[in-house]
């Protein structure tokens, strides 16, 4: 359907002409943006920033300027409460590093994040759900040794589960990247065993050679792929779905303006996500 709108968009472009215009947009107030996550066995990581005007110039320094370093960030699992802090000013993320008494995610627990910026409190709660293992991983070649990674999942009976997929090429990618459409729920697939495939996610605005040209989006023979398959709360799925729709629609005039959802209360933007993760590795031969 989205494709259809895109087609109509394309075909109208064929007969139309376009020009650059200057828009006088109203000034909007800066909002606090929180992007935080926690996974079982890992400490929480929280990035706090502010939103920028739509046409404000964006570069590395402005991203840096947008980050908030004086927030008070606390986390609680209902029993234990800790304050997160920035350990390395070059990477202004709030976390908790205490090897003697670590605070790491545990399956089945709910975590409440509280962020205070300029005297205002923002809170969110997210639960680490039981990880669900994929039955198997396999590679399906599309062309010239390039293809997608597929998985078989036996989806547990009972509606309400939601998932998010990440993958990393071991030794090549810096981290696990989610592809577009990384999050799905079980509305259509509840209780069934089914196959699904994903293309290779990449860092934003990537200029790596493998993200250009014909290799873009493909895994290839020789890759060792680690898949991080996570279960998430339904509101996390809703956040990522609306986020990906908005990022994907970016500028599409035929799409309804999407309000990206948030699970944070208090007027901030962003997400506080708890992941129940399971890992699998596929060596593509």
């Amino acid at each position: 359907m989205k494709k259809l709108l895109y087609l109509i968009f394309l075909s109208t472009l064929m007969i139309s002409c376009e020009k650059e215009i200057t828009l006088d947009l109203p000034k909007s107030e800066q909002k606090v943006v929180i992007e935080g996550f926690i996974e079982q066995d890992f400490p929480p990581i929280v990035f706090v920033s502010k939103s920028a005007g739509y046409f404000d110039p964006v570069d590395s320094s402005s991203i840096d300027q947008l980050s908030v370093r004086n927030a008070v960030v606390t986390i609680t699992d209902g029993v234990r409460t800790e304050t997160l802090k920035i350990y390395d000013n070059r990477y202004p993320v709030y976390t908790f590093l205490n090897f003697g008494n670590p605070f790491v995610g545990q399956v089945g627990k709910s975590y409440t994040l509280k962020v205070t910026v300029d005297g205002k409190d923002y809170t969110a709660t997210s639960r680490i759900n039981t990880p669900i293992k994929l039955d198997s991983l396999y590679f399906d070649e599309e062309v010239n040794g390039l293809g997608y990674v597929w998985a078989t999942l036996a989806e547990p009976v009972g509606i309400g589960n939601a998932y998010r997929w990440f993958a990393q090429r071991v030794g090549e990618d810096e981290t696990y990247y989610p592809p577009f459409g990384s999050s799905f729920d079980d509305k259509f697939i509840d209780g069934t065993q089914f196959n699904f495939g994903y293309y290779r996610g990449m860092p934003p605005n990537s200029d790596r050679p493998e993200d250009q040209g014909e290799e873009r989006g493909y895994f290839k023979i020789g890759d060792t792929v680690s898949v991080r398959f996570t279960t998430v709360d339904h509101d996390i799925y809703e956040f990522y779905r609306s986020y990906e729709t908005e990022v994907g629609n970016n500028g599409n005039p035929f799409a309804a303006p999407g309000k990206v959802k948030t699970n944070i209360e208090g007027g901030a933007l962003g997400v506080w996500a708890a992941y129940g993760a399971s890992y699998d590795t596929l060596i593509i031969k």
Binding site: E18, L25, S28, S51, P204, N250
Partner: protein, 814 residues
């Protein structure tokens, strides 16, 4: 409600009793040359300074006291007939109007009676004459009924590339569009560049943007009532045209002379319209294209002077195909309407006219796409089976009573998707259909209270009932389905009903001016939900359900009407105020697939609307130089608790200023010129106001809904029509009468059978958007560069559809 009905009955029974012995004059008015019945012709009684007009089937009836009268039968563009009638018994009088001879022909934009503007109770009603529309500049040379309607005050274009129109702050779904009484659900071809109405097959166009009489219902904003030609019942006739976009051909003639006739009309666009000329064979988009075709057909059979049968139909299809050969992706999108109407006119007496209709109407839309072995299909549509019984009763010259009943069985298929990969079918849920009964009864009377005050009062009572089979899903707080209620076929699910009073009154100040006021209340039980900012064939029709309540509209209007200079000029000032309840929008961020395996109406959110405005209209009706100027100032807002944080916002349809100028000049027999200028305030739209980063990617945050305006739209079009000297057609088939070699002309307008005919043709040269204005179609944002490298730039881009476009069309008739 009971009381108002009662007072109705009392009112006219009382007025019957007050008069002496009466007889009626009734009959049909038709065009001499083709035998087509004339809609809205005036039948005027000179002695009484009163009259009536023919109805949609050309029938009129006058009941007068015994005596001798002078009747004047007239319709603009025709020579009036004046006759003496001695009325001492009921008489049946049929009249044939002859076209005005060329030399005295005046160009009139409408076919209204000279003082009808001031005289009638109707407000916000405009009749358009197809022959005159054809002289106006047209987009790519193709005359379009809907585009012309959008030049009237109060009727706004939804924008280029969009045949939808907005009437007085109402949405495109709030217009009742009728083609020979059958509802047309999507009146657009080629994504809205043209409408489904073929000018060669259309006889009469009547637009009501307010104060609609009780026989119409089911929509809040307007009624566009289009009648197809019946077909020439005197002789065979061919009309056609060759243009840049499509060609058309119409064939009509008698089956049995003066008794039965047919008309067949077809259009086909050239397959290459939108994409193909721009797509090279080597392009990855090769094979993409867009075309349409449509047919109109009508058969007309006069069984006797009292009975007449009409069968009419329309079938149209658009096909949009798109290929991306690199991505191994292809899509086909066929969509279109089909309608059929069988009607029977019966005259019970000279005072009681009946029309019975059985109508079928359908719109559907399909989308099929394949990528490698993945297949996706989407289907949506609506289908109606409609039966109607309408009566016109003419008890005295002071009353024209209409009453009737109407029943529709609806079948909605809002949106059904199926997907499969190889042999694996994905479970996208059952095919969901909605079924509903839709019934109404009405009575209305157009009557003279005094010589100054004329009233049209009526009431319509409507009922809508959603019935099974249907599965209603129950949801929990996080919108997960927890339970399903299954309704059996025919089982009642939800019923809505209510009265819809209508009243309009005209108070004559003098013979040249009047004040009119009206109140209209309407229920609308079906809804069109649109995801995007433009209306597309993907928009789905939804019935009222237990979640979606019927729309309710109240409209109040008051206007001043005045004619000048011996009816040369017509002017009016109308103001209106309108409220709309239970308006439907998608929830924020809703996606089209939300309806799969769910009840689609859960993705809707509801609110109310308000619109008010003032419309000014000045028309020069007669003379070589004629045309009109219209201006509208209006405000339209919506309030939805779940949208825009519950704050009021301007509707998509909000246009502050809207103006149009339409001028025609008949220079000579050969040349005529016309021009159109339109101006309207920019469309309201929602734009992002700020940005933030999540996972290193930019996310937009939007400003208040529809708080931004695009730049105003304005455009000038001109056209010239060249009509070459008429030639005689060489020879008519099996025609014994030879045409005189010197070509001496005999009058072709004679009512006697005509065996020789002239070949008529004209060339229309149009230039669209003369000063090449880049009007905004939409605005989008282009992100380029890399945030990490400090090169990220966001540019706003405005896309305009049509630059200056010259075109030429050749039309012929023989």
């Amino acid at each position: 409600m009971k009381r108002s009905l009662l007072s109705f009955i009392l009112l006219f029974t009382f007025s019957f009793a007050a008069h002496a012995q009466r007889f009626s004059i009734s009959g049909y008015v038709k065009e001499a040359s083709s035998g087509e019945f004339t809609i809205g012709a005036n039948v005027y009684v000179k002695e009484l300074l009163k009259g009536t007009t023919t109805n949609a089937y050309g029938f009129y009836s006058l009941t007068l006291e015994k005596g001798t009268y002078t009747l004047v039968i007239s319709s603009l563009g025709f020579d009036p007939i004046e006759t003496k009638v001695v009325l001492d018994k009921d008489v049946r009088l049929n009249y044939s109007l002859k076209s005005k001879s060329i030399t005295t022909k005046e160009v009139e934009i409408t076919a209204e009676r000279s003082d009808k503007n001031v005289e009638s109770t109707q407000m916000g009603t405009v009749k358009l004459d197809v022959d005159e529309i054809k002289k106006l500049p047209a987009f790519l040379g193709e005359v379009d009924v809907l585009k012309t309607i959008q030049l009237l005050p109060g009727v706004k274009s939804a924008g280029e590339g969009n045949s939808g129109f907005y009437v007085r702050g109402g949405g495109p779904d709030q217009n009742l569009i009728l083609l020979d009484e059958a509802v047309v659900y999507n009146a657009s071809h080629l994504l809205g560049f043209f409408s489904v109405f073929n000018g060669d097959a259309v006889k009469d166009i009547n637009m009501m943007k307010g104060g609609m009489p009780a026989q119409y219902g089911g929509r809040l904003a307007s009624v566009l009532d289009i009648s197809m030609k019946e077909g020439n019942n005197r002789e065979y006739q061919v009309d056609g045209g060759v243009g840049l976009i499509f060609s058309r051909l119409t064939l009509q003639g008698p089956i049995k002379k003066d008794t039965s006739s047919f008309i067949l009309s077809a259009r086909r666009s050239y397959a290459d319209f939108l994409a193909r000329p721009f797509v090279k064979k080597t392009s990855k988009f090769y094979g993409s294209g867009l075309y349409f075709y449509d047919f109109n057909a009508k058969f007309n059979y006069r069984i006797s002077d009292k009975d007449r049968l009409m069968l009419s139909g329309y079938y149209g299809r658009d096909m949009f195909s798109f290929n991306d050969n690199e991505a191994d992706f292809s899509a086909k999108i066929p969509y279109g309407n089909a309608t059929a109407a069988l009607r029977w006119n019966h005259l019970f007496s000279s005072k009681l006219f009946m029309n019975t209709s059985a109508i079928f109407s359908q719109y559907n839309f399909e989308f099929g796409a394949t990528q490698s072995d993945f297949e996706f299909k989407l289907f949506s549509g609506i289908r109606d089976y409609n039966a109607k019984l309408d009566f016109s009763y003419f008890p005295t010259i002071r009353h024209n009573i209409k009453f009737g009943i109407n029943y529709i069985y609806h079948e909605f298929t809002p949106s059904n998707a199926s997907a499969k990969q190889g042999d694996v079918e994905f479970d996208t849920g059952k095919m969901v259909k909605f079924y509903a009964h839709d019934a109404a009864a009405y009575i209305g009377d157009d009557f003279d209270l005094t010589d100054q005050i004329k009233i049209n009062a009526g009431i319509r009572y409507s009922l809508f009932q959603q019935i099974g089979p249907f599965d209603r899903y129950q949801k929990n707080a996080i919108e997960q389905i927890t339970d399903t209620i299954t309704y059996k076929p025919g089982e009642k699910i939800q019923t809505y009903h209510g009265p819809e009073p209508r009243i309009s009154a005209r108070f004559g100040l003098n013979t040249k001016s009047s004040i009119k006021a009206s109140y209209t209340r309407n229920y609308q039980y079906i809804h069109l939900a649109s995801l995007s900012s433009v209306s597309l064939p993907t928009d789905v029709w939804m019935p009222s359900t237990s979640i979606v309540k019927p729309q309710l509209g109240n409209q109040y209007a008051i206007g001043y009407f005045r004619n000048f200079a011996n009816d040369m000029f017509e002017t009016s000032v109308e103001t209106y105020y309108k409220t709309m309840e239970n308006q439907v929008e998608y929830k924020e961020g809703a996606l089209p697939e939300d309806g799969a395996k769910d009840n689609l109406d859960y993705s809707f959110t509801f609110g109310s609307g308000e619109s008010y405005g003032i419309e000014l209209f000045l028309k020069k009706r007669l003379g070589k130089f004629n045309g009109w100027v219209g201006y509208t100032l209006s405000y339209t807002t919506r309030v939805f608790p779940e949208l825009n944080d519950g704050k009021p916002f301007y509707a998509k349809y909000d246009r502050r200023h809207d103006a149009s100028v339409v001028l025609s000049y008949d220079m000579s027999k050969k040349w005529s010129f016309s021009t159109i200028f339109v101006y309207s305030s920019g469309n309201a739209m929602t734009l992002p106001v700020s940005r933030y980063f999540v996972e290193g990617r930019i996310v937009n945050e939007y400003g208040e809904r529809n708080s931004f305006r695009m730049t105003p739209y304005h455009r000038l079009d001109v056209s010239a029509t060249y009509t070459p000297e008429k030639r005689r057609k060489k020879k008519q088939k099996d025609d014994a009468v030879q045409v005189a070699p010197d070509g001496t002309s005999t009058d072709a307008e004679e009512e006697a059978p005509v065996t020789k005919r002239r070949f008529e043709s004209n060339w229309n040269f149009s230039v669209f958007n003369v000063y090449n204005r880049h009007n905004p179609y939409f605005i989008y944002f282009d992100n380029a560069g890399d945030a990490d490298k400090g090169t990220l730039e966001i540019k706003a881009k405005q896309v305009s559809l049509f630059p200056i476009l010259p075109s030429v069309t050749y039309n012929f008739k023989f």
